[in-house]
Structures are given as C-alpha cells and as structure tokens.
Symmetry: C2
Subunit: 229 residues, 2 copies
DNA sequence: ATTGACTGATTGTCGGACAATCTCAGTGTG
DNA sequence: CACACTGAGATTGTCCGACAATCAGTCAAT
C-alpha cells in the first residue's frame, strides 16, 4: 500500500490559532462597522479586552495590515484603514481588470467555475426576494463578482480579488443604506450572466464596465468630502 | 502656506525596524539561492544566527509568509516556499492577465508610466550589452515586465504583480543558467515596445503571450520532476 | 504489523521588562 | 503674542525567559 494514501478525503481538522481567532474577530468588527475607519487599534487595550497577550494581538494586527485592512505607522501604531477617493478608484479599476479578464475566459473556464457564477447569482436572487440584512445582500452581491474573478481559475488572482472585496466591505461598513436599486442590480447581474451563457462576451464586458462605474460612483459617496484649498 | 507640502520629494528618512532588516536579509538569501526551496526556517536558529530575539524573527517570517515567499504550517514551522508545476502555471497566467491589461491601456496610460517601460528596456539593453551578472539581467528583465504591469497605474495591481515577480525570482534562485537566449529576449522586448509605440496593441499582445509561454516553459524546467506512479 | 508510550525538538502563547519614539500640554523667552 | 524648549505620559519596538501543546522519531509490547 502506498504510504500517503488519503482514505478519508472528507475529513480534516484545521487547528485555529489564537492569533487567527483574534484576527477574525477584528475583521468581523471592521465589517460590521463597530470600528470606524481611522480608529486606532491599541495593542495593550485590545490585549486586555480580548484576554490575550500583547504579542498575540500584535501578530493579528500584522495579518490585518498584510490584508490591507489596517495601516501601521512605525512608532505610531495601527489604525483601521481609511479609504480615500484614490483608493476607491484604484480598487474599482483593479476589480474591473480582474473581473473582465475572468469574463473573457468564460468559454475556456471549467464547468465548475461557471457553476460558481450561476450559484452565486441564484443565491443573490434568493436573498433579494426574501427579507435579508443589507449586510447579507452585500455579501451575496460581492460573491457574484468574486465568482467572476474566479473564472480566471488562478488562486493568486482570486486572492487579490478577495483583498479588494475586503476593502470594499470596509468602505461599506456602517453605511448600510438599504439602497432601493437592489432590484435593479439583480436584473443587471441576471442580464450579465445571460449574456455570458449565450456567448455574448463583448456585451457582457460593457455591461460589467457600466455596472462597476455605478458601483464606483456610490462608493465614492461614502468617502468624506475633503476641504478644497 | 499649505501645511503638508513636500518641498524635498527626494528626501526621506524611513525608520528601518529590525524586523524589516531581518526580512530583507532573508529575502536576499532566498533570491541568491543560499536557502533552497523547502529549507526549514527555524526560529531559534535564525534568532541566534542573526543576533536578534526569536519574536523578531517570528514577525519577519510572518512578512515572508504574507509575501508568499515562505509557507508556515501550524505547529510545524516555516519553510522556504517551493513552487510546483501548478504554481508556475498560475504565476505565469496571472502575469499574463496583469501585463496584458497594462498593454491594452498603453494609450490611456500617463506619459510617466510609458517612460518607465522605455527606461526599463534601455536599462535592460545596457546590461545585456556589457558584462552583467545573470542575477542583474534577470532583475532588469523582470523590471520591464513590472513596468508593463505598471501601465495599469494601479498600486494594488502593481503590488500583486510584485508578489508574482518575487515568486519567479524565487524559482530562478540558484538556477542561474546564463541562457544564451538573452539576445533573443532583448530583441523580443525591443519589438514589443516598438509595437506599442506605433499603436499596434493587438500585435503587442500576441507578442507578450508568446514570450510568456516561453518563459513558463523554461520556468517549468526548474521544478523537480515528480515520480509517476 | 499495529499500537502505545516515551523523548527531544519546535512552535504558540504568555508575561514582564526596558529603551526609543511620539504627543501634547506647559513653560519660559523674546 | 509668537516661538522654541522641556518634560511627563503614552505607545510601540525589541528583548528575555518561561511553559504548554504539538510534532517526529524510537522503541517496547501486543
């Protein structure tokens, strides 16, 4: 018998370290809007509040910084990342690149990758039909776009896409205006996928471009206006 | 007078923490091939060897892991990332996406971004003409591609591109075969940029695709062959 | 051949310590 | 009043030492 044969492929126990738990808790707080952008994340305060050592908190903060969710200024501290207008534009442009590239690969993508797009769309429709938190709808919405980026079938590109969506969630945290264009968006996404299914790639691309332009516009409204000189 | 005006853009005092220095030293060792892929990076050994505390080494290792240059397995340790064939293919595909997108934006890109491409090309030509380390040539070669990715003018996309190039340098570490196709590559890049200058975007794209396919092929030769069952 | 127990090495987390640095209010000086 | 200096307090960066948890290998027992 081969040595490393895995006879129980469905079984797995992943050890979750305290650092991971702390990082997850911080992420949750960020996305729920409990911690506003710009808030200082003091190591000692967090350590006492969470009942862990400072070094543990420090390492968790390092993870958030690596994800782009927090900024660390040497000798000054770590703070919740605050996106300015340039950040928003950059995130949206990067999204456009990744998702467009995914769409262009629709034909060559695996059936599984395409199914993820369909599944994300139906889940989104299910949520918008019933009563769902604005948070949940946002998550489902992003899941669709994530699936589009997933059409690249590149773990690394999907990883950067995830980082982008995390930043978007950060920008949307606390905003929470249950905008009435949800139904409109639902149609837009449905149309987009329909175009893909029929092989109309070019049309799907322009659809996406318009959709993302709108998204950028509404995201830009979340950034506090700067005072002109 | 505005408060935060930067009258000396070239001046900056960046406080380099010990963690950063350790991380830089490790990166250097990785790229120079002193540390082979798969090598275990023991925290205590590194700490003693570098004369720093274990926690400092630990944090530096966290940076490398975040960059994808090392893998950390819980309770087992950190090791130099070893790329397999799938990794190579993924990195190359991701490169293609980012650099293609940059090329398509050639017309809309800023003059500065285009100049970076030209500068990288001339620097590459200068190095290949004279006597230069294989390391240096590789760096200059990657600088060209980095400039192509820079045409996106997106800090985030450029960041992921940098991560990809770091992985490539890792794969190329120690290989160091001064391949004779350098001259050929020089011509290829020159042609590519020439096509861009003349606005022949589509041709430039196919040029890039072929070039990257070749690069993928030679990169795949660096991964140790797996034993078939 | 499988199981179980033991050992040594390594990591994960903790707590405390101290110097370096930043912030800011206060103080003095012209 | 404007300005530079100073000092206290807070916070981070780094170090040290400690200990439990976990892992890899050995070796005996069944």
């Amino acid at each position: 018998m081969p040595e490393h044969e895995n006879n129980f492929p469905t079984l797995s126990v992943e050890p979750v370290s305290i650092v991971d738990r702390v990082a997850d808790e911080l992420r949750r707080a960020l996305f729920e809007g409990e911690l506003e952008p710009g808030t200082a994340l003091r190591e000692v305060a967090l350590a006492e509040s969470l009942g862990v050592a400072r070094s543990t908190v420090r390492e968790a903060l390092g993870l958030l910084v690596a994800d782009g969710l927090a900024d660390r200024i040497p000798n000054k501290g770590t703070a919740v990342h605050a996106l300015d207008a340039d950040d928003i534009r950059d995130v949206c442009h990067a999204r456009l690149v990744l998702e467009s590239s995914g769409i262009e690969r629709w034909d060559q993508a695996s059936e599984q990758a395409r199914d993820e797009v369909r599944a994300a769309l139906t889940e989104f429709n299910r949520l918008t039909a019933g009563t769902a938190t604005s948070q949940e709808i946002t998550a489902a919405h992003l899941a669709i776009h994530r699936a589009l980026a997933g059409l690249n079938e590149s773990p690394r590109l999907l990883g950067t896409a995830d980082a982008l969506y995390a930043e978007i969630r950060l920008a949307l945290a606390g905003v929470d205006r249950a905008r009435g264009n949800v139904r409109e968006q639902a149609h837009a996404h449905g149309d987009l996928v329909r175009l893909l299914e029929r092989g109309h790639i070019a049309e799907a691309l322009t659809d996406l471009r318009e959709h993302l332009a709108g998204a950028e516009q509404s995201l830009l409204e979340t950034v506090p206006a700067v005072d002109a000189p």
